[in-house]
């Protein structure tokens, strides 16, 4: 490898020897193509005309009036596929094409990354397999149907709790056996180097656009930038636009599940210890022996025991702060935003909004907060209804 892939002590590439050649090939291809004019032009074209970028920044006035300060929503929910995941899937899919690969695999939790990858697989004419835990297949069945309609094979993963971590395990195992012709299109800003760097690169359009749009609309930079964090791809993309603006506070909101004190959550940064999972050193929810713990969250996309290494670094350096929102508050906020703005937020993204709702009346009215509305909540309507009827 040319680079260590470290963010402070975090990251790296802790993988079996057999995967090293594939990661080296990927690193080399990314170094070669990500600033190549032809690649950049083709991706820009796809971002604009296929995905629908730039996404709007929307001043949510009724939600702002409710919380007592100014909230701007970065509308990644309006993109093709309904989430920010398409940015990275287009970027890596194009990279796969430039590398001459013909097969894609991906893991998915909520199904948004799986769907984005299935769409890109169809677009580029590549055979696509999506690994998805059986629990997630059940709770996100609409996305499973959509992936299959795009021609992807959805591979059910039974190990563990049948969630994102288990899907990554099986995707890595499959990749190990098919490493010569298959491109692993990793969806989160986690995993072994060079994935955290690649995913951040293709997601950084979120923050770059939001910064420009905020300057245009509000006439200044925001005071606060908020995004939800599971593995952390939408947050790292959003933070990338503001990390050098020292006066902009960055807050990542993790899945607090039933509450941190219950142990039933997925808040790796808030409650984990440094460990190694899926090729990277990062904060990890684990027991005293180092076995990875089961996680719990109402949002499949945040239901993950580890987190991207750069978030760990941002936490330790104090540049970003990480908090958790519990399921009940997330459900309340889902209804709140829907009623006030007519926008159904994905349960994942709702964690960021729940944090802002919790700040009601606590900030001066001129405060500007930009929240990443990373995905739309159509996929979650059944879950919300079920939770409310319990």
């Amino acid at each position: 490898m040319k680079h260590s892939g470290r963010f402070g002590q975090f990251g790296g590439y802790y993988v079996p020897e057999v995967l090293i050649p594939a990661l080296e090939e990927l690193e080399e291809a990314f170094d070669r193509f990500h600033e190549d004019p032809a690649f950049v032009a083709e991706l820009a074209q796809l971002f604009r005309h296929y995905a629908g970028r730039p996404s709007p920044l929307y001043h949510a006035k009724r939600f702002s009036a409710h919380v007592g300060f100014q909230v701007y929503l970065k509308r990644e929910d309006l993109l093709h596929g309904g989430a920010h995941k398409i940015n990275n899937s287009l970027g890596q899919g194009l990279l796969a094409k430039y590398m001459g690969k013909t097969k894609l695999i991906a893991e998915t939790g909520a199904g948004q990354h799986g769907l984005a990858t299935a769409m890109v697989g169809a677009l580029l004419g590549m055979e696509t397999k999506i690994f998805m835990g059986v629990t997630d297949i059940e709770r996100q069945s609409v996305n499973v149907h959509k992936m299959r309609l795009c021609g992807a094979e959805v591979v059910p993963v039974e190990g563990g709790t049948g969630t994102l971590k288990d899907a990554i395990n099986d995707a890595l195992r499959y990749w190990t056996a098919n490493v010569t012709d298959t491109f692993y299109l990793f969806g989160s800003a986690a995993g072994p180097h060079p994935y955290p760097t690649i995913v951040k690169h293709f997601q950084s359009c979120i923050g770059t656009e939001a910064r420009q749009q905020c300057l245009e609309q509000a006439g200044r930079l925001p005071d606060l930038v908020v995004a939800c964090v599971g593995g952390g791809s939408n947050a790292i993309g959003m933070f990338a636009g503001f990390v050098d603006d020292k006066n902009v506070r960055l807050v990542g909101v993790e899945a607090g599940g039933k509450g941190l004190e219950t142990g039933k959550h997925a808040a790796s940064l808030s409650a984990g210890k440094v460990g190694i999972l899926h090729g990277a050193k990062a904060y990890l929810l684990q027991d005293e022996n180092g076995q990875v713990l089961d996680t719990e969250s109402i949002s499949a996309g945040l239901d993950y025991a580890a987190v991207g290494p750069e978030h760990c670094y941002l936490k330790d350096t104090g540049r970003a702060r990480y908090v958790a929102a519990v399921d009940d508050d997330v459900l309340d906020t889902f209804e709140l935003l829907t009623r006030l703005e007519g926008i159904l937020p994905a349960l994942e993204s709702t964690h960021a909004l729940a944090y802002l709702a919790g700040l009601q009346g606590k900030l001066p009215p001129t405060t500007i907060a930009v929240a990443n509305l990373s995905g739309r909540g159509d996929k979650d309507v059944g879950i919300v209804e079920k939770a409310r009827n319990q």
Partner: protein, 281 residues
């Protein structure tokens, strides 16, 4: 404590490859696992390769994953694994290599881990999710504690990496026969013999082959291709899995199978028989 060097030197004199069974410590429970390991030793194991169960074993196929789950459910931990290894060594002084995942070592504390497991009788620790690029994270504390080092080479490992791996290895090179995770395969990969030859050409460190080795025939052809050891895991673990309610049946099956393999580990080329079966012993 018996070293790899002693064991492989003895085998060299006999002109045969080492029989290296792999088991997950504590599968399906501490006592049964111990009995099965003693059986494997009595059936002729030359070296033991032992797995410590982990929640997310990304280099393992379904067979070993299930064994890990059985062992964890019955309470296997690093502290219990130490006791397990002491009891094995009490049965016979045989070299033991561990095959495990890095997070367990990190949480236990690297230096303390290598000291404690060396004291219990372990000869080497192969970390499945640690490549040669980060080897110094473990080679320092391992050597300080008196352990040998073992690393993996796979069919897609570049020649200059092979050289680096060989130079960092003092125990044996764990040669992965195929691209993929652990698990029984019907046939051996066609590339493995070339891989053994390549490694033998660049190092005098013993070359042992594992992953997908599940038949006496596989072991025979690996030994004849020059492998210094043959590692068999998933096939044995399947025998445990299929006799969970009858450990004595698992014991008999494992003993019979290992004796069959032991009988075909000669490096000498076979004499052809009319049936096509070779008679090497």
């Amino acid at each position: 404590m018996k070293s790899y060097q002693q064991t492989f030197a003895e085998l060299k004199k006999q002109d045969r490859a080492a029989l290296i069974p792999f088991f997950v410590i504590g599968d399906p429970d501490f006592d049964t696992s111990l009995t099965l390991l003693k059986t494997a030793i009595d059936a002729g194991a030359d070296v033991l390769e032992l797995g410590i169960p982990f929640s997310d074993p990304i280099a393992d196929g379904p067979t070993i994953q299930k064994a890990d789950i059985r062992a964890m459910r019955s309470g296997m931990s690093l502290a219990r694994a130490l006791e397990f290894i002491r009891q094995i060594k009490g049965h016979k002084d045989i070299p033991i290599g561990l095959l495990m995942y890095y997070n367990l070592i990190q949480q236990y504390g690297r230096e303390r881990f290598f000291q404690d497991f060396h004291e219990a009788g372990v000869n080497s620790v192969l970390v499945a999710d640690l490549s040669i690029d980060d080897a110094e994270e473990v080679t320092g504390p391992a050597r300080a504690a008196g352990l040998d080092t073992v690393f993996m080479v796979t069919p897609n490992t570049a020649p200059e990496r092979m050289q680096r791996i060989a130079s960092q290895t003092t125990g044996f090179i764990y040669t992965v026969s195929l691209l993929g995770v652990t698990g029984s395969r019907q046939a051996l990969s066609g590339t493995v013999e070339g891989l053994i030859r390549q490694l033998k050409g660049l190092t005098s460190i013993p070359v042992c082959v594992g992953f997908g080795v599940s038949q006496p025939e596989h072991a025979r052809s690996l030994a004849q291709a020059g492998a210094d050891g043959v590692i068999i895991g998933s096939r044995l673990v399947t025998m445990i899995e299929s006799h969970l309610n009858a450990p004595s049946a698992a014991r008999e099956e494992i003993a019979l199978f290992l004796r069959q393999v032991k009988a075909v580990l000669s490096h000498r080329p076979p004499k052809r028989c009319p049936s096509g079966e070779s008679a090497t012993q």
